[in-house]
């Protein structure tokens, strides 16, 4: 078990190092997510009465679209210089590769969310420090990463790889998006914990189901 963890960490660290040196993914995704935030604010208007209704939706559109861009990149970079083949030659279980890439994607998305969310809260004049919102974001991003890592490994081997990931990813993560938006509404409204419990439960269930299912089927996606 401990050994598997070390292997997962090695793959994860490889992605981190590449990112530190090239700064390809996080910066571009960050800029994109901020643009989505700004454009949607223009599209919906930013009056005080609108904030409560549209703000959670805008945040989640930005995080979802940003997430898709990041997920597309995580396997697209592996496609260059046959790095994917190299990764497959590693003497590790395919599930280990899945978890390594998953940890990488999750960290990228989290890094983007850590910057985007406070900016979002400031733009809409909402309280900046919201630990409950952090919990919602972590649970939703685990869901995004679990499904997204599987599908981006799949999409990268199709002819229309850039469009394939969102087409596959978005319908499957509908429960996460609905729950995340609903939970964010309750957080921003300052409602008690009980109100958001249902949504947290759905996200936890989704995360567990998809982490298990994707671990099981990942080997069929990357096999040559």
């Amino acid at each position: 078990m401990n050994k598997a963890f070390t292997k997962i960490f090695t793959i994860f660290w490889k992605d981190m190092l590449t990112e530190f040196r090239t700064r390809e993914i996080i910066i571009s995704v960050l800029v994109f997510a901020l643009l989505v935030l700004v454009i949607f604010s223009f599209a919906f208007g930013t009056g005080a009465d609108m904030t409560e209704m549209t703000a959670p939706g805008i945040l989640w559109v930005a995080l979802t679209f940003g997430g898709i861009i990041g997920l597309t990149r995580t396997f697209a970079v592996e496609k260059e210089n046959s790095r994917l083949e190299g990764l497959m030659l590693c003497p590790v279980d395919r599930a280990v590769i899945y978890w390594g890439k998953l940890a990488g994607s999750f960290t990228f998305m989290l890094a983007v969310a850590v910057v985007v969310t406070p900016i979002f809260l400031a733009l809409f004049n909402l309280p900046i420090f919201l630990p409950r919102l952090a919990l919602v974001i972590v649970l939703a991003l685990i869901g995004f990463a679990s499904v997204g890592t599987l599908f981006s490994a799949l999409a990268v081997n199709t002819r229309a790889r850039d469009i394939m990931l969102p087409i596959l990813f978005l319908p499957v993560v509908v429960p996460v998006i609905v729950s995340a938006v609903k939970a964010t509404v309750t957080v921003l409204a300052g409602a008690p914990w009980g109100d958001m419990l249902t949504w947290l439960q759905i996200m936890i269930a989704f995360d567990i189901i998809y982490l298990v299912a994707a671990t099981l089927v990942f080997e069929f996606v990357v096999e040559e």
């Binding site: 081997n157 199709t158 429960p175 089927v217």
Partner: protein, 226 residues
Amino acid sequence: MNGKHALRNGILWGLGFALMIAALYMVFIYVPTEKHTGIIQRIFYFHVPVAWVSFLAFFITFISSILYLWKRQTKWDAIACASVEVGVIFTTLVLITGPIWAKPVWGIWWTWDARLTTSLVLWLIYIAYLLVRSLATEPAKGARYSAVIGIVGFIDVPIVFLTVNMWRTQHPTTIIFEGGLTTPMLMTLLVCIAAFTVLYVLLVIQSSGLKTMEAEIRRLRIIKAE
């Protein structure tokens, strides 16, 4: 195709034809018009069986996809794919017949109700399934990828339903089970469900048979080229 298959198909065609004629007779002549919603309620005998078949189709795909990844036999892939094709067409029909009924009864074409939304999300997932298949770089990869989507997509159904149900719901859910249907109505519905199920089985047999033959031709071509 051997004699046994021909006999089975013959029986299924005969049965399907008889059931369809019976269903048409029952829907348009036998069953009384519903008191509150009027003539439009008859679309229910089309809408419900079609919805049932689309869920059945995606369930069959789920099972066949697991069997394909496990056994790697072309026939399971052919059944899974054929079932999705039929399922997508039937889901499209569900999404068309639903609003035709909803407009006069609810006064709106569409509402974000659990069943409607789940059907729409399902439709999108399985369109992605067909897209991946056609855009895969080689048929063997397409078969594997679509099997993965057949599994991962299907386990999403209960989660989507549950989530949207918490979100909002409006669909007339319990009419069938609360005994709101009179005996002639229930009889008509059951005959329609049987008719459409037989139609589904026939379509899948035809389509998967065709796909198996296509795979066989591809295999022979490769042998010949070598």
